[in-house]
Symmetry: C2
Subunit: 262 residues, 2 copies
């Protein structure tokens, strides 16, 4: 099944736009997991078991697994396999890759074939031929960084001649979207700009991080992020759910808050 169909299906089934970022930091997880043979996977498993009927996607960020070397990457493989086995929820591997053509092909093989993600994130700085190898996996989703949720967005993304760089990225991505598998990443901390990106993006899915610990605007993210049918906004929270005393309640609360604005 194509990523977009998977995403819409999970959105409907779980009545949810919530995506949980599986960004495990061993320094923050409960002590009891550290005494098991595979702390990262076991922690993720608990979160997945508790939330799989509340989310439209899971988004592990590759950085947090690479930080633990071979062990971390093995736990990532096992985590994605478990999500596929136990749920119909798609997995967005947040990897922000991008390189010259043949290197991007190697990265695309890694995220889609080795790690078996349903979608990934890509950095547009190197232009179309750095993104194309990802897009050629027609069944997979490719979210291209547009306007990010961190403070450094000011350095380059809002600069430009006739329009800011992030709008130019959104327009290019529209051109690149031959297979209908593109999406854009837009931070929830940028409510007004999110509106203009949605106008440029048509029905593409938008991946919207920054509503949890980063304090983005939830109402604006939902209203400006979705399309007419109330879908296609993928609203990510990581730390605020993972490290809550009760991830199930926290995820349910956030899903329901999101739905109030749909």
């Amino acid at each position: 099944m194509k990523f977009l169909a998977q995403l819409d299906k999970a959105t409907d089934k779980n009545d949810s736009l919530l995506c949980i970022g599986l960004d495990v930091d061993l320094a923050k997880i409960p002590q009891n997991f550290l005494n098991t043979e595979d702390p990262i996977f076991n922690f993720n498993k608990t979160v997945i078991d508790a939330t799989k009927q509340l989310v439209c996607a899971y988004k592990p960020n590759s950085a947090f697994y690479e930080m633990y070397g071979i062990y971390g990457l093995s736990a990532l493989l096992r985590t994605i396999e478990y999500i596929h086995q136990e749920t119909d929820v798609p997995v967005i591997l947040d990897a922000k890759r991008g390189d010259v053509g043949h290197s991007s092909t190697a990265y695309a093989k890694s995220v889609f074939q080795v790690f078996k993600a349903d979608a990934t994130t890509v950095n547009p700085y190197m232009g179309h031929d750095s993104v194309r190898p990802f897009l050629e996996f027609e069944e997979k989703g490719v979210f291209i960084l547009c306007l990010t949720s961190n403070v450094g967005f000011k350095d380059f993304q809002i600069k430009g001649v006739d329009e800011p760089l992030y709008k130019s990225v959104a327009k290019h991505v529209r051109e690149w979207n031959h297979y209908g598998n593109c999406g854009l990443v837009v931070g929830a901390t940028k409510a007004e700009e999110l509106k203009s990106v949605r106008e440029l993006a048509g029905d593409m899915p938008l991946l919207i991080p920054g509503v949890g610990a980063q304090g983005g605007d939830l109402e604006a993210s939902v209203k400006h992020g979705t399309i007419k049918n109330g879908k296609r906004a993928v609203i990510n929270a990581s730390r605020s759910i993972l490290y809550a005393a009760d991830p199930y309640s926290e995820a349910k609360k956030l899903r329901d808050n999101i739905n109030k604005f749909r």
Copy 2:
């Protein structure tokens, strides 16, 4: 020892600006390596043994190891360890990472502490706080993408209000260079622009890919890439050396050609 001192030392000792990109593709290496227990490492070892007195740096591109999953990454670890053990040549892990602050910190830990690279490449799209966690490893080198060697450089890197984006990146990097550990990536396919980047970059090292299979201008890369003492240009070739019938002769020829222009 700081990266820049390591780089200068290897440049002097081996009288070389040549960097070899260790981008192993199992479909291209000689059949006899495939019959060993660790084909990627054994192939790299042969290349390293043959060229370690001819280069100023080695640059494995993470994509080609990630493509082979856990096995590939184990071979990458073993390769970097071998270079450190057998040579004084610094290792630039070409990973083109960049993410929001705490995720970039995780990536920096991965490349510098887990994989033990001496330097890495970073994508500037997300701005200063996405680059800073790498820079905080003061002993390590950080090459920021500026003007890349692929055709997609046209999409965004040369756009801008008062100046093209790549020049704005070069100027920002100059500001970010508090610890003297920054460098820039500029493709050898962009001879004129390389000159203007060198003017902006002061004495920073420039990593210059694209002289081999991509057909960049060698003379211009050396003349415009180096500083007054004839150093600080790191000229990378990958496929043209790795898959040559005799990597030693091919590397020696390229090193000597480079030196003609110094």
